[in-house]
Amino acid sequence: MSEKVLMKGNEAIAEAAIRAGCRHYFGYPITPQTELAAYMAKRMPKIGGCFLQAESEIAAINMVYGVASTGLRVMTSSSSPGVSLKQEGISYIAGADLPALIVNVQRGGPGLGGIQPSQSDYFQATKGGGHGDYHLIVLAPSSVQEMADLTAKCFELADKYRMPTMLLADGTMGQMMEPVLLPEESGVTVEKPWALTGTKMQREHNIVNSLYLKPEELEKTNFDRYEKYSIIEKNEVMYEEYMMEDAEVCVVAFGIAARVSKNAVVEARKQGIKAGLLRPITLWPFPSEAVKKAAEHCKAFVSVELSMGQMIEDIKLASECKCPVELCNRAGGMIPSPEQVLASIKNVAGGNE
């Protein structure tokens, strides 16, 4: 068995991607994800891969589109403002049903915002982000180990469902180091008869395209795609529950917010409050069933977010307003403290009188 190594989250993503068979990376410098690009720049030439610093985020995502259309594993990474620029390309990748990985190591916004960690691209990531009806599969790691594991998972799901996936991290996750057991090298085994490889004069030409001028045809592609999405919603939801069995207060948080929240849940339990943590790992598909189930035995939810409250809408939808949902948040690059989360837990638990 290989041993654990100490790595930054950004580096763990890069190494895991290489081990998942990704040999093409396109990016543009932006804090706080630059270590990922730097790692790729160092490693790719040594393993016969391609690292290319593109002229823009827009060019980078379109290079990704190009490689994806050949069926090879490919990725790009950026941080919030850069991911906004990529939205056009992501929409085309979704519309052409191509597998690819986009990594967003989020920072505060809107606009140029800041460079400190944030989760304020939740809407953009989970609701489509670009124009048109589409989804990305969005995975949210909350440890460096998961930065690696979920990167591999993103490639696997992208190939399985022929669609773009996003690893939604944040500046903290990207910059922090933790021991990580790197995943084994994996070969790509998925057949891709649709890929552009040259006809070799052996078959009809393949076309990768998202243009359908006849609305009834375009409608059909949308319906078909959403049928695929419903299968994903059925089969691919991932989440982690901590002390949820008898919980009366359900804290919902992902990524770095889940790490902070766990401390608060531990402390709440010490103080006799039955708190539990529900940590979505897939943000799309959102673990709605788990939230719904929690709503049956909890009296309140606390949504802990590094944003002005985005995931809270999904919690409200999933819990069908059976119980109140309180927002516990910081924004702009600030991170809620365990004390702040604990205060929210106490508030909804009604233990403050």
Binding site: E55, N62, G66, T70, L72, G198, T199, M201, I207, N209
Partner: protein, 250 residues
Amino acid sequence: MVVFEKPHALCDVPLHYCPGCTHGIVHRLVAQAIDELGIEGDAIGVAPVGCAVMAYDYFSCDMVEAAHGRAPAVATGIKRALPDNIVFTYQGDGDLASIGMAETVHAATRNENITIIFINNAIYGMTGGQMAPTSLPGQVTQTSPYGRDVATAGFPIKVSELLAALDGPAYIQRVAVNNVKNVKQAQKAIKKAFENQIQGKGFSLIEVVSSCPTNWGMTPQQALDWVEEKMIPYYPLGVYKDKTSEEGEK
């Protein structure tokens, strides 16, 4: 006796282009080059957004449809993934010289080993005749109804001259397809642009001065005359850069 045959690399479907539009000629020249070089089985084409948006239905090689202006970036990705395949883009002036200028310049400066066919007809055709980056000074379009005023709209971009100023690109030539002589020249240039790629020479771009009778508001013949009288004087034909003879294989 067959006197005229459709190239194999061109699909047997009706093209949607307007009467008198020279896209058809250029499509044929591209397909003919692919046939002559025997590269159809390896070719991957990138279609633009613009009048040639449906080029993916017209060429019988593998095709991908790019976002507006991004074809050189898409082609870069494909070529980096499949260096042994032959990758080309087919783009108009709005696509290549306006919204996609960054992608164009950077693919050129990286000397990506790809072939770009650039149709310069001085207008946005698909959207109905708006001012293009290459519209001539004084040219009347839907969005320059009083003629292109260079004081506010700036000057036309001379793509071949601009790219030739870079150290990167291997081959830049401007041709036209308004008469038989020029078509023959264009045919040679396009074939050379593919040969360059086969030989690993790098980035080749052929700018084809074309016509758009519909949006210029002319008959096809008037349009061809306008190419001769107005376009070519502003966009002189010729080889602007040729590193292919001075360098060995890339």
